[in-house]
Amino acid sequence: MRRDWWKWFLGIWMTLMILGAFLYTPVAKGLGETTRVLYFHVPAAWVATLSFLISAVYSIRYLQKQQIQYDVWAASSAQIGFIFTILATVTGSIWAKEIWHSYWNWDPRETSIFVLLLIYAAYFALRSAIEDTNQKARLAAVYSILAFVTVPFLVFVIPRIYDSLHPDPLINPEVKIKMDPRMLRVFLGSLFGFTLLFYWMLRIKTDIEFLKLKLTKRM
């Protein structure tokens, strides 16, 4: 029980962040009440990107070491990332309807999250098409790395096609934080909470997969 203290901490922390998002922070000019989407939508998108990165890192480790646990980590991370990508896409789309009056208009951010969805979908399609465990792990790792290599080019290419209307909370050319300090506090707190939540989910997922592996080995 003592080892699990951080899970309780996370519960309290996230409750505080939700309360803070609705009660503590001011709203930004031009966005009105929908500013509060920031504290949930952006962390979801952040976790989606982070899990993609972790999946690629574990894929590289797998190819180096050829040990199945790295593949379990990579696949689990990708699966959780896929859920968060869907969440970020849907919530972003609802927000876009309110602000831009259309659910989907191929804004650069919408395009890049869509490509991320495609990559994840392709990754899972590939995994389900191969029977042998080691071969599945190897090919999936190679695909994950190649997809990861492509991402910087997408980041460079996509904004050149369309102008973005997406608000820039942190990522902007001047690398300045244009946020009210109260907003920033809750935003960073929420980002931290989501990352911890991701770590927790990843641990549960990988534990389940390891147990399954052990079972199949015993049979």
């Binding site: 090919l139 190679v142 290599v149 492509t150 080019f153």
Partner: protein, 234 residues
């Protein structure tokens, strides 16, 4: 071991010779059966006819013209490029191939074949395209340069994805599904560049697109060569 005999230049040279042998082998095999080349060219001609037929007498704008051209090239590539590795698995020749040649040589040879396949497709399809859709290309040199670079990029992605797909059970659909996300940078900058070239832009105007196509192809090729060993090894 004589270090000079196994020096870098020597090994690169032997690698190229071996790649060339693989290329020759595939080339002769292909031209005996003509499976891939028939499939890919017929597919391209049919999609080109479909586009031209559905557009009818309407004159398309340059952005749509360049987008249509790349859509045709992309889907034709998806229909034929996977054959190069799938054939080795279907005819059960891959194990012999593993014994006789190093992985990098195999990859380079197959890559070369796919590039040639895509080029021969374009030699047929592009004049037809220009004639049927009444395209007036004003910047011909930039146009051709972008077509060449874009096809090399598509062929690189197609080759490494073909190697992956050949080991999986559902090959046909999976090939396009895997290749599309990685092809987006190539397609996007090729469409942009072709559009500029059709409207009379020279190489200087398309420079950003050309740089991107070139660097992306180089990056994909290098990482493919590094990773191919893991796909190929059993």
């Amino acid at each position: 071991m004589n270090p000079r005999k196994y020096g870098l230049e020597e090994s690169v040279w032997t690698l190229l010779v071996k790649s060339n042998i693989i290329f020759q082998k595939d080339f002769h095999l292909e031209f005996r059966t003509r499976y891939a080349i028939n499939a890919i060219i017929l597919f391209a001609v049919i999609s080109l006819t479909a586009v031209s037929f559905s557009v009818g007498p309407i004159q398309l704008e340059p952005p749509i013209q360049s987008a249509m051209l790349w859509v045709i090239i992309f889907f034709s590539a998806m229909s034929g490029l996977s054959h190069i590795f799938v054939r080795e698995e279907e005819q059960q020749t891959s194990d012999t191939l593993r014994l006789v040649a190093p992985p990098t040589a195999i990859f380079l040879g197959k890559w070369g074949f796919n590039v040639v396949l895509l080029f021969s497709l374009e030699i047929i399809i592009i004049p037809l395209y220009i004639a049927l859709l009444n395209v007036e290309v004003q910047g011909m040199s930039a146009f051709l340069l972008i077509i060449v670079l874009g096809s090399v990029g598509l062929a690189s992605i197609g080759t490494i994805m073909a190697a992956i797909v050949a080991q999986a059970s559902t090959r046909g659909a999976l090939f396009a599904v895997l290749s599309f996300p990685l092809s987006i940078p190539v397609l996007r900058s090729a469409i942009q560049g072709t559009w500029t070239a059709i409207q009379g832009g020279g190489v200087a105007q398309c420079l950003a697109d050309i740089q991107l196509l070139f660097s992306f192809t180089v990056v994909i090729l290098t990482s493919s060569i590094l990773l191919f060993e893991f796909i190929w090894r059993k």
